[in-house]
Amino acid sequence: MEAIWLYQFRLIVIGDSTVGKSCLIRRFTEGRFAQVSDPTVGVDFFSRLVEIEPGKRIKLQIWDTAGQERFRSITRAYYRNSVGGLLLFDITNRRSFQNVHDWLEEARSHVQPHSIVFLLVGHKCDLEAQRQVSRQEAEKLAGAYGMRYVETSARDAINVEHAFTELTRDIFALVRSGDITIQEGWEGVKSGFVPNVVHSSEEVTKSDRRCLC
C-alpha cells in the first residue's frame, strides 16, 4: 500500500440493518458487489486512499458497523474516534428512514466531546420502482440536520465514489480551516508522513503556512 498520504480520516458507517452499509463500502474499497453477504458482526474495517486534489491523498479508514440491534451496545463504543460518518437508509424501506433521527442522536451523544461530520445516504437508488422515500423529503431532513444528501447504489455503482469523496472533502476543508484539529489520543484525524522533498511541511504542521508547491 502506498505509504504517502496527507491525512488519515476515520469514518464510521451507520444505519439500520440490511440498508446496505457493507455493500456500499465493499463497492468503494474493493470495486465489486456481492449479491449475498453475511450480516456484519460488531464492526469490520476497510481502508482506501482518496485523491481529493491532484497529489493530495487522504487515507480513509472505514469502520463498518453492524446494524443489528443486538450489537448496538457494542457499536456505541466505536463512535468516539471517528471524524466523519455515512448515515445510510434504504430508499425502499421507510422504516430505515424514520430511524435516521435515532441514529444521529445516538452518534452525536457518543462522540462527545468531539463532533462528527455526517453525510446522509439514501441507498439502493437503483430500485426506483420500490421507492418509499422521496428525494425531496430526504433532502429536507438532511438540510434540517445540516448534512448533505446523496443517493447511491452499490449494485450499479452510482454515486459511490462521489459520496465518499464529498464527505472527505468536507472534512478536509474543516481540517484546513482549523475547525477540526489533530488531537493526541483521538484517532479521528491523523497526519500522514509527507516527505519534505515532495510537499512542504505546511501540509502537516499547520503553524507553517507557506506553500512551496
Binding site: V41, G42, F71, P195, V198
Partner: protein, 505 residues
Amino acid sequence: MSDSEASSVAAGSSDVAAEEREASPVQVPDDSSPPASGANSTDNSIDVAPTRKARRRPDAKPPAEIQESQETKAEEQPAKESSESSVSQGGWGYWGSWGKSILSTATATVATVGQGLTQVIEKAETSLGIPSPTELSAQVEEDQHQQGEGSSETDGAGEDGASAVGSAIGMLSSLTSVVQNTGKTVITGGLDALEFIGKKTMDVIAEGDPGFKKTKGLMNRTSTLSQVLREAKEREELQTAEESLSSSDPERKAVAHYGMLFDEFQGLSHLEALEILSRESESKVKSVLTTMSGDEVARLREELDAIKEAFSLVEFDDEDVDEKKDEDGSEFERELAEALDGLHVSATADKLGKACRSACTQIAEMTKPLKEEEEGEEEDVKNMLPVENIHAAAIRSLAQLTARSIELFHKLAETILSSHSSTEASLLSQLTVVLCKEISLLSKKFTSCLTTAGSNEKGDVLNPLITGVFLEASNSASYIQDAFQLLMPILEVSHIQRRVESTQQ
C-alpha cells in the same frame, strides 16, 4: 524483581520460568531489526543482537569476573522500578519502543550498549542454568576472524561460507527453542520474565546513554498494545516514504515491515476495537462491584477470580511443534475448528485458515525448486530464491496470521458481549495455544527455508534475516497472548450479565 527472587523462581518452579527468560535474547533486539533489514547491506552496527553479541564477546571474557560488578549495578535499578511499571504496563511500553532509542540516541555508545546487552543476557542465562551461548558466539567470532583474514584469499571464501552457515544453524537451533518457548509462556501469567530482563537491559542502556532517560519518559505514555504497534507502523511508514524518495535504484526490493503489514491486514484496527471493548468491560465490572456489598460482592469476586484463574493457567507442550507436521495447514484448520466449536465465529475462522493455507503454499513453493536444484547442476545455485524474498514472505505471513488472530479475538469479544451465552475461558486459552503454536511452526518452516536458500550467503547477511523472522514470530505470539488477556474483562462482564438475568427470572 530482585536477582535472588529470580533465581529462586527459576530453580524452584517448572522450567517455564526459565524458558521465559531464555526468550529474551530474541526479544531484546526487537526494534533494531527493521533498520537492519532496511539498510540492506552496509551497516553492521545496527545488526540484531545475537550477532552483535557475538562480535562484542572478546571484551567480555572471562564473563563471570568482569560482569560481577556491573551486574550488581544494573540490578539495583530494576529493583526500584519494577513495582511502578509492572503494575500498569505489563512490559508493553518497553518492548515497543526502546529499540528506537538504541538507534536514534545510542549510536555513539554502541560498544557500551552492545556489551551491556551481552552481559544482561549472559547473566540471565547463567543465573538460570541455561546453556551459555559461548560456543555459539565463539564460532561466529571465529568466522568473522576468518573472514577478516581470508578476504583476499579466494580459497578461503568457500570455507567461510560453510562455517557461516554452520553458525547460522547453531543460532537457528538455539533460537528455535526460544520461539517454542514463546508458545509455552502462553498464559503463564504475562511477560514478567521478559520484563525483568527488559528492565535490566534498559538500565544498562540508560547508564551508557544520557539521552535515553528522555526516551524512556516518552515511552511511559505508550501504555496500550495498539499504540505500541501503531508507533512501530508509523516509524516504518516514515522510513519507507523516505527510502522511496531517496532511493535512486528502482529495482530495490521493498523491505518487509511487520507493523505496516499488520496494519494492512487491519490488525491494528481490530486490536484497537478489542481494546475499546476490553476497557469498557473492565470499567463496567468495576462499577458493578462498587454497587454491591457484603456477601454479595464477596461471592461475585470469587466467581470473577475463577475466570481470572483460567486466564493464567494454561501452557502447551512445545514438543508438539514439529516442523515436519502439517504441510498444507489442514492440521491447523482442524485444531482451530475444534477450539472454536460452538463459538459462532466461522467467517473469521475461515479467513484465518485461508491465511495459514496461503503461508503453507508459499513455503511449499519455496522448498520445491531447491530440491530440484540439488539433484541437477550444483554449480548454478544463483537461481535460488533470494533470501530477502523468503524473509519478506515470512514477515508478511506472520503479520497476516497475527492480524487474523487478533481479528478472531475481536469477533469473539463482540459475539460474547452480544449473545449473552456462556463462553468458557478454557476454550479461549486453548485457542490461544493453537494460534501460538501455528506461529511458532510457521516461523520454523520459514527459517529452515532461509537456511537452505542462504547456504551460500555470509552469516552477516543470513543471520539478521533469520533472527528477524524469529523475532517477529516471538512478537506475534506475544501480541496474540496479550489480545487473549484483553478478553478477560469481557468474560467477566458476560458472566455478570448472565448472573443478573438469572436473578431477574
